[in-house]
């Protein structure tokens, strides 16, 4: 995807520790004023990538550009980016004011300007009255905001945040999500945000880079990543998804017909496929159906044996198995006339014609029931 005015740009960046490849080939750009998330499970290379942007790590190969300038081997104190560390790394022996003033003073700004800048930034994070306190005298959320102010006061090209909300409890985390968005709008600085929490990434970011095992799986807007995942990993990692393995029976302008392992035939509307998926007959593919897209009850081709129902307040999550033991789930709104089935029942599952989406390949767990594969083979 092209970004008009990239602030940060990674070109084929690779990071290797001995024989271990932490980042394979990161290649994306982050635009001015964007709220950009790097999302993935722990060990996927997102923090290493962030450190290469900050300058704490240097790429083994490839280049990092900042405002168009190659900074791949520039030390951190000469890069105009600032980091909010996971544990904040506030200086315990300095007051809040001196913490925030550390950056401007390092750049030898006149003390009068330091004072006005720090005051202004403490107001942005709403900590004006705490200027003379020590970090240890503040709550976790307040410390977090000091860390933000300390970084933002330097007007960096990009602000890097390493799992900034991980240390906070749930309520505070939700409040800080909103607070972070507000601060970002107010200062207009590019935020690059590392998280393993997909909910956080979806609600806060303009764009997300989903990473897994050192590879960037997909870069895109939350809506696209959720609705049109490029890979099975993205489909499974973002939100919850029913991933139903099958084989293509036929494909033409009208859509693609897929025979699932449990014997159900699904018609996928034209265009509802990952761009990488090859839709020729006989190919192994996976049909994705989001739980909120499926409806239980009535007459439908797919039979689901309900194993569990989980009340979630506004909705009920129904978990079940298809006849070939693929786990599926459905969201049934609570408090409506539609009654959720109970465990032990066998119900039909159906969906709107536009819902199915097809991806290349099978999930790792699929195909273990070889008898089903044989029966499909026979059916073809």
């Amino acid at each position: 995807m092209d970004v008009g005015d990239p602030v940060v740009k990674l070109e084929n960046v690779r990071k290797q520790y001995g024989s271990f490849i932490a980042v394979h080939q990161a290649d994306f750009a982050i635009g001015r004023g964007e709220f950009f998330a790097m999302l993935g499970p722990s060990g996927c290379g997102k923090t290493t990538t962030l450190k290469m942007i900050a300058g704490f790590e240097q790429p083994t190969a490839g280049q990092v550009f900042l405002e168009g300038e190659d900074v791949s081997h520039t030390p951190p104190h000469k890069r105009n980016v600032n980091t909010v560390f996971q544990q904040y790394a506030l200086f315990p022996h300095m007051s809040v004011f001196d913490n925030v003033a550390f950056g401007p003073r390092s750049k030898k700004l006149p003390e009068a300007e330091v004072k006005s800048r720090v005051g202004e930034m403490l107001d942005v994070v709403r900590l004006g009255e705490f200027a003379q306190r020590r970090p240890a005298q503040l709550s976790g959320g307040q410390q977090q905001r000091v860390a933000l102010a300390r970084a933002l006061v330097n007007y960096p090209s990009a602000l890097l945040l390493d799992e900034p909300l991980a240390a906070l409890d749930l309520k505070l985390r939700e409040a800080m999500q909103i607070e972070l968005k507000r601060i970002q709008r107010e200062v207009g600085i590019t935020f690059v945000f590392v998280t393993h929490d997909q909910g956080e990434a979806l609600t806060m970011s303009d764009r997300i880079a989903v990473m897994s095992e050192g590879r960037v799986e997909q870069v895109g807007a939350p809506v696209d990543i959720y609705a049109r995942p490029e890979t099975l990993f993205v489909a499974g990692f973002i939100g919850s998804a029913n991933l139903l393995p099958g084989t293509i029976v036929s494909s033409d302008g009208g859509g693609t017909r897929v025979l699932l392992l449990d014997g159900t035939e699904v018609i996928v509307a034209a265009g509802n496929s990952a761009s990488s998926a090859a839709l020729s007959q006989g190919n192994q593919v996976t049909v994705m159906l989001r739980p909120e897209q499926v409806v239980l009850g009535g007459e439908g081709a797919m039979k689901v044996f309900v194993t569990d129902t989980v009340f979630q307040g506004s909705s009920v999550r129904v978990v079940g198995r298809t006849s070939n033991d693929t786990e599926v789930s459905a969201i049934v709104p609570a408090g409506t006339s539609v009654k959720a089935p109970s465990a032990g029942e066998t119900v039909s599952m159906h969906w709107h014609a536009s819902a199915p989406y097809v991806l290349e390949g099978w999930p790792e767990t699929a195909g273990s029931t070889s008898t089903n594969v044989d029966s499909i083979e026979a059916a073809l």
Binding site: G55, P92, D169
Partner: protein, 276 residues
């Protein structure tokens, strides 16, 4: 049953207090005697029998110039050796706790050696080295000898103190545009300073106090312990006790000030215990 247990506990508590008290007495009785005998009015040259209270020793603490001179020499030696040893030891402790480098295991081993080898061995082998190299004994050789064992004490105690230091603070400083030098002086150094001072204090005391290693390397130089040892066969003036008591009070004063500063800092830096 319950009563029996209570009695048992009582006896146990009594025993613990008794043993602890005895241990304290064992540790502090000699110190107490030294302070007490600085007020003694001895008959003859040996201040070893209590023969009446007087303040005249305290009125003339410097009446034995050879004692006073020796004390001044000891203070000079301790000052310079502590300065050098603290500087070197701090660098070693920082390097060892911060980096894993080739040979860091060997450095670790060599650090512990001076702490575990007998002083007679250290002192005599160093003296042999000086003689073989044709170095004449004096204040310089004594300072070198003291630095040799002080470095180990400084490095080992400081390394224990800065274990668990959050090095991401230094990263944060550099991230904010500080050069590595500024990051060290503004962030790391102020945070490890209490540990450095404590280590320096310890090594200062060790230097003032050292006899064996000094004895081998002093030549004609006379430090306070050497003077007392040499004079003790002909005279033990109460001024020894007076000067020793002064030293004792000096180090207690430094320790108390250190503790006060430390606890104030800690209160500020860690805050009151906060409930999450």
């Amino acid at each position: 049953m319950r009563r029996a247990l209570d009695t048992k506990q009582k006896v146990g508590r009594w025993a613990i207090n008794g043993v602890a008290g005895a241990a304290m007495a064992y540790l502090f009785a000699p110190v107490f005697v030294i302070v007490l005998f600085s007020f003694n009015n001895p008959e003859g040259k040996f201040n070893i029998v209590w023969s009446g209270f007087t303040l005249k020793n305290w009125a003339n603490p410097f009446s034995h110039p050879e004692l006073t001179d020796a004390l001044v020499v000891s203070l000079q030696v301790a000052f310079f050796s502590t300065l050098i040893a603290t500087l070197l030891g701090t660098c070693i402790a920082l390097a060892l706790s911060r980096y894993r480098f080739k040979g860091s295991g060997a450095v670790n081993l060599f650090l512990v050696l001076p702490l575990t080898s007998p002083e007679v061995v250290l002192g005599s082998s160093l003296a042999t080295l000086f003689i073989a190299r044709g170095v004449s004994f004096g204040i310089v050789t004594v300072i070198i000898a003291h630095v040799m064992f002080q470095v180990s004490f400084v490095a080992v105690t400081l390394r224990a103190r800065i274990r668990g230091f959050d090095w991401s603070l230094e990263q944060a400083a550099m991230d904010l545009g500080a050069t590595p030098r500024r990051a060290f002086w503004k962030v790391t150094f102020p945070l490890i300073l209490p540990g450095v001072l404590a280590a320096a204090l310890l090594s200062f005391a060790l230097s003032i106090d050292d006899f064996i290693i000094t004895f081998f390397n002093a030549g004609s130089l006379v430090t306070f312990p050497l003077q007392i040892f040499g004079a003790s066969r002909v005279a033990i003036p109460p001024q020894i006790n007076v000067l020793a008591t002064m030293l004792l009070m000096g180090s207690i004063a430094i320790m108390v000030v250190g503790l006060i500063i430390e606890s104030r800092r800690r209160r500020l830096n860690t805050g009151s215990e906060r409930k999450r």
